[in-house]
């Protein structure tokens, strides 16, 4: 079987959806962060696939930038989470309710 552009797009769609569903149903803050990373990474597949399809490097540049941004985001997220964990001894987002209506 020949692997075409649409296979890559389907794979990316599947990974993106996995991340999205995980984000919505899981209550563990670390898992939610991982799901966001999964969603961000799935877009890299799309960029790489289209980059190959169009035969230019714009998509690859985007992928590299995305690595840096995703890493920075994870670093900040974990830092804030550590700060919360020190106070609360939990990473369950249902317990983060100081700010509820």
């Amino acid at each position: 079987m020949e692997i075409t552009l649409s296979h890559y797009l389907l794979l990316a769609g599947a990974v993106f959806t996995t991340g999205m569903v995980g984000f919505v149903i899981r209550r563990n803050a670390i898992v939610m962060l991982m799901c966001v990373e999964l969603m961000l990474s799935s877009t890299n597949i799309v960029f790489a696939a289209f980059s190959r399809f169009h035969g230019n490097a714009d998509g690859h540049v985007f992928v590299l930038m995305n690595f840096a941004v995703a890493a920075a985001e994870a670093a900040i997220g974990l830092a804030i989470l550590v700060e919360i964990f020190r106070r609360r001894r939990t990473v369950n987002v249902d317990d983060f309710k100081t700010l509820m209506e």
Partner: protein, 504 residues
């Protein structure tokens, strides 16, 4: 490589100078904080003000050299300069308010200053973005800094929770934004706005990719401007973050979101904006109405202003919807030259300035009330009798709230007037009626705070604030609110000229 890059950047250093100043200033402030041991507490704030004012001064005095820079990644023009002034001005005010807040809290956050500068840099890049990559980097530079600003108050669990919520939901929306950009790249075969325009004008554009991609990008931008249903983070984050940051988020971050949103929908005219036009219209109505109705029920002034900021995002979206309405013309060129598109676009710019001034004035006062240590002037019932204890603060807050409610002669009234008259001119009468009814509802909750300040007797545990620098700064903003409300014409004409000069 070198032959290509060094002359290219060197000859473009002029137009990029404000950006370079803010970027280098941010690094400088960070280094000074780390290595200069004899630093007094206020020194970093002076240095930050110096950087911001320097960037403003360069922006004013330089002869404008408009056009694309950095190989078309960014586009310097009147539109970008307009937003640069707005962001840098908000930065100056936020620095002043934050320094006052630190004094009162006994809580000093040296990391605030570089982060503020970096987030402003992100916004400036965003307003000048001419490539999907610059849009993404601008949004993320801004957002990542603001996540830390909102969530980084050490030992304050409310701030940490607000920051975490903002970060997780912000990351979630960034993923949608990025996926949308990936699909648009697939559509156009390049990431530049010029590539997108060329592909849109091409023979047989792939409508599926375009519609899906632009929809996902609109989701990501809708999150940044707090459009319903992507607004869930707003009340919690605005409440949990320190007030000076809330003021910054409510004004500069929102303006940055609209800066790129306006350009993006103009870029996609007419092909896709029309596909999303009905959806966008429906969401606009829901955003205005939900924001105002929920604001009625709040007892915390920061939460109330958060919901009111959602409602104001709705008014601004009303302008966006009008700008791309079928009546305004059916191509991007016609849009900008047509009377309806021009009046809606300039109304958006005018309203952004109005909204920024009045909201900053309000948050400047809220920031200095309360006892400190993470407690700002939040509970509305504790504003009772503020007029007797601090008349200047009470008067300033009154002007800000009256303006937010859209009562003449404040600038908020003129902003709403321009917006709604553009809506009427486009023939969208039902939308205009909904907008007016909404601003009538909003009068109730703004007036409630004023009644508290002037007519209730003092209770125990009421607020009083005495941080004079912040009060005077807010007071000056309030005077500007009144002045622009009485003399809006010159500024409105300038906004129209700026809007017509948007290019891609």
């Amino acid at each position: 490589m070198n032959e290509f890059f060094i002359p290219a950047v060197g000859s473009q250093a002029g137009p990029l100078l404000p950006y370079l100043i803010v970027a280098a200033g941010g690094l400088l402030v960070m280094l000074v904080d780390s290595f200069v041991k004899t630093l007094k507490k206020d020194h970093l704030s002076y240095l930050t003000l110096f950087v911001l004012l320097g960037a403003i001064l360069v922006q004013i005095t330089r002869v404008p050299q408009d056009g694309p820079v950095l190989g078309g990644m960014m586009l310097i023009g009147a539109y970008a300069r307009f937003f640069n002034f707005l962001f840098l001005g908000v930065g100056v005010m936020t620095t002043i308010f934050a320094t006052g807040g630190f004094d009162r809290d006994g809580l000093y956050r040296p990391e605030f200053y570089p982060l503020l500068l970096f987030s402003i840099l992100g916004m400036m890049v965003l307003a000048a973005a001419n490539d999907l990559l610059t849009v993404f980097l601008g949004i993320e530079t801004m957002s990542l800094s603001v996540y830390v600003l909102a969530g980084g108050v050490h030992g304050n669990v409310r701030s940490s929770e607000a920051g975490f919520k903002y970060l997780v939901l912000g990351g979630f929306s960034s993923a949608f934004l990025l996926m949308g950009m990936a699909l648009l790249y697939g559509f156009a075969g390049g990431t530049g706005f010029a590539d997108l325009t060329a592909a849109l004008r091409g023979d047989s554009p792939d409508i599926t990719l375009l519609t899906l991609g632009s929809g996902l990008v609109l989701v990501g931008m809708g999150f940044k401007v707090a459009m319903v249903p992507f607004h869930m983070w707003t009340p919690d984050v605005y409440e949990g973050a320190p007030s000076y940051i809330t003021g910054f988020m409510a004004t500069a971050v929102k303006a940055a979101g609209f800066a790129i949103l306006v350009r993006f929908v103009l870029l996609l005219q007419p092909q896709t904006a029309f596909a999303w036009y009905p959806v966008l219209t429906a969401l606009t109505v829901i955003t205005m109405t939900l924001g105002n109705l929920v604001a009625l029920a709040q007892s915390n002034i920061k939460r109330m202003l958060a919901w009111s900021s959602i409602a104001h995002a709705g008014y601004l979206l009303l302008g966006v919807v009008t700008m791309i309405s079928p009546a305004a013309g059916d191509s991007e060129m016609m849009l900008r030259s047509s009377e309806i598109g021009g009046s809606a676009g300039s109304a958006i710019l005018f309203y952004l300035i109005a909204y920024t001034l009045m909201n900053l004035a309000a948050f400047g006062i809220i920031n200095i009330l309360g006892k400190g240590r993470g407690e700002d002037g939040e509970e509305i019932h504790r504003y009772a009798g503020l007029y007797h204890r601090n008349p200047v603060a009470a008067a300033t807050l009154t002007v800000a709230l009256l303006s937010l409610a859209g009562i003449p002669p404040m600038v908020g009234f003129m902003g709403k007037f321009y917006l709604f008259s553009a809506v009427v001119r486009a023939g969208l009468i039902p939308l205009a009626i909904i907008g007016v009814v909404n601003s009538l509802i909003s009068v109730y909750y703004y007036l409630r705070v004023m009644v508290m300040m002037y007519m209730k007797d003092e209770e125990e545990d009421t607020y009083s604030g005495t941080e004079w620098v912040s009060v005077v700064t807010s007071g000056m903003l309030a005077l500007l609110v009144i002045y622009l409300g009485i003399q809006p014409n010159a500024f409105q004409r300038a906004a129209e000229v700026i809007f017509r000069q948007i290019t891609f």
